[in-house]
Amino acid sequence: MAKALLLNPTAFEAGLVAAARARALSPAQSAALEAFSKTGLPHRRIEAWKWTDIRANLRDDLSSASAANDVIAPSIFGGLGAFEITIMNGAAEWSGEAPAGVTISCTPQGGPLSELASNHPLANLAFLNTDETIAINVAEGASVEKPLLIRRIAGGGAIHQRVTVKVGACSKVTIIESFDGVGRYFSNSVTEFSIESGASVERLVLQNGSDDGVETALCAVAAETMSKFHQTALLLGARIVRIESRIALGGEDAQADLRSASMLCGMRHADVTSQIDHRAKGCTTRQLHKSALKDKADGVFQGKFLVARGAQKTDARMSVNALLLSDFAEARHKPELEIYADDVECAHGSTVGALDDAALFYIKSRGLDDAAARALLTEAFLGEAFDAMPHPAIERTFRTRIARWLEAGK
């Protein structure tokens, strides 16, 4: 029973709600449906979504879900010997035993959304549409060498998917999430991390959707005392992509390190949005975002640091740089600080520019042609986001992907 339905739902929204109502929902899912029915899909008149209008980009013309195995190339992370979980059109599959210290299970429906995800319209949508939640558990003290690779592949239709990751105290784990897609699809996922004291998580994201795909991925992180959350993301965009991170540094001396790069061509749009709540003393955040934008591409970055009253000695720095490689490309940045403590060091900087003509000329005078000189400088610009990553083989994988994009344009 949905009450207070959205005033003017689009056909697509009405379809989403009708499909959800036809399912057997848990009480928590029913509440999520009610919440979603009130808001609908995020759209441009909501401040946080003003540059990424999901509602306007979703119509009832999605391709029907088809297995996309044969059209999607093997994962470029294949060589790492990672433990792979494939999620094809929302259905998860894996084989073999999870690495020592890790348990992976599918739970029907799953528990309620974590605090940071629960008021997110798309997380609610994912939650109420998910039949099974993948729950990853990393045992206390485990140091997991083998990366876990979560490969999401969208082959059409509306796909909703949820993963929870519980990282036990003082453990270490590397989780790669890749997002691929073909055709016209809406892929919506939520990944929730709960990181206990002293634990360390390395999250890597590689997103490459189709020209018609709409992709939204929320990552919600609750980080305890002295834990570390490092994230490195590379986005190639889609029709519309939003990779969002909501992080609460809830214990003292927790650290967040977020690096991301978007390289977009054609009409692609990618939105990197984050909010980091500093709730305890002595937390450190470093954030760097870079984008290289060709053709008519659209690069969005919204980053917010929130420092609570008690979070003294917070040390947080954000830097965002866009490189416009065409006169028609657009970069939109919104860095924000909201600080309620007095003894903190917070800074942000944002730049938008083109390649430096003097540097280009120097390189060409040494024998590189114009295209090669531009590629060299663009690679150097984007590469900063991948400097000195803890896992050299993963760093090489990212750099190889950047070089391929510069060469092939995709």
């Binding site: 003097a358 005078s365 590189l368 400088l377």
Partner: protein, 248 residues
């Protein structure tokens, strides 16, 4: 070898070179001296092929071939090399990787085979030693955080490594210590050959003590106003540019 005839160049809509003519025969070293702002760097950038330097009139040929219609990288492949007055820092680009890419790009344009990684490593280490740049410096991002003198050494390293046919040196001596100055002299003198030419831009006689020029030209207000033998540099050192500018 290099022949410049009645060259007019505008930068940002201002005419900087106003009918410059100059010829450097193969095997010779010519020095160009002139006051600040007279157009020396404009000349060197124009010869190297900077696109925003607009040639409004005149000709430049290298061994009879029209240079002006070639892109900067094609000129490099033909053997034109400019040692920059202010070399660039290129963050994020590893020095060795950059120079190897450049060398191989030149070779590819000329239809030559690429140099292998192993051969290149040997080559660059040897040239590094020659110009006084340690392996550690060669592993850094290109010129990043280098001192002015170190950047000039990096230019000389590339000169020694590329072995170009025609060399333009734009104030390579500025900012160099005595030992480095001597090194520059040695690099240039070792490259002097009957089929190679040099255009050496400088403000000081000092460098010319190491590199004996065949001819000295005075560039003032966008033109060569006087040419002569090596004694012209000594004369300038004594009495300055005034007499030549007035005479022109």
């Amino acid at each position: 070898m290099l022949k410049i005839e009645d060259l007019h160049v505008a930068v940002g809509g201002h005419e900087i070179l106003k009918g410059l003519s100059l010829e450097v025969p193969a095997g010779e070293v010519h020095a160009v001296m002139g006051p600040n702002g007279s157009g020396k760097s404009t000349l060197s950038f124009t010869l190297a092929g900077r696109e925003d330097y607009e040639v409004t009139a005149g000709d430049v040929t290298l061994e009879g071939e029209n240079l002006l219609q070639l892109a900067a990288n094609e000129r490099a492949a033909k053997g034109v090399f400019l040692s920059f007055q202010n070399p660039m820092e290129i963050p994020g680009v590893a020095t060795m990787n950059f120079i190897r890419t450049a060398l191989n790009a030149q070779r590819k344009t000329r239809g030559e085979e690429e140099v292998s990684a192993a051969d290149f490593l040997k080559l660059i280490r040897e040239k590094g030693k020659l110009v006084g740049l340690s392996d550690e410096k060669l592993k850094r991002p290109f010129n990043v955080g280098f001192s002015g003198g170190e950047k000039k050494r990096m230019e000389m390293l590339q000169l020694a490594l590329f072995q170009p046919r025609f060399v333009i040196m734009d104030e390579t001596d500025s900012g160099l210590d005595i030992d480095a100055l001597k090194m520059v002299g040695e690099v240039v003198n070792s490259l002097r050959a009957p089929d190679r030419g040099f255009l050496v831009i400088t403000h000081y006689q000092r460098l010319l003590d190491y590199i004996k020029p065949d001819r000295v030209h005075i560039l003032a207000a966008g033109r060569i106003v006087k040419s002569g033998g090596p004694e012209l540099a000594a004369e300038l050192e004594k009495s300055g540019y005034d007499q030549f500018i007035k005479a022109a």
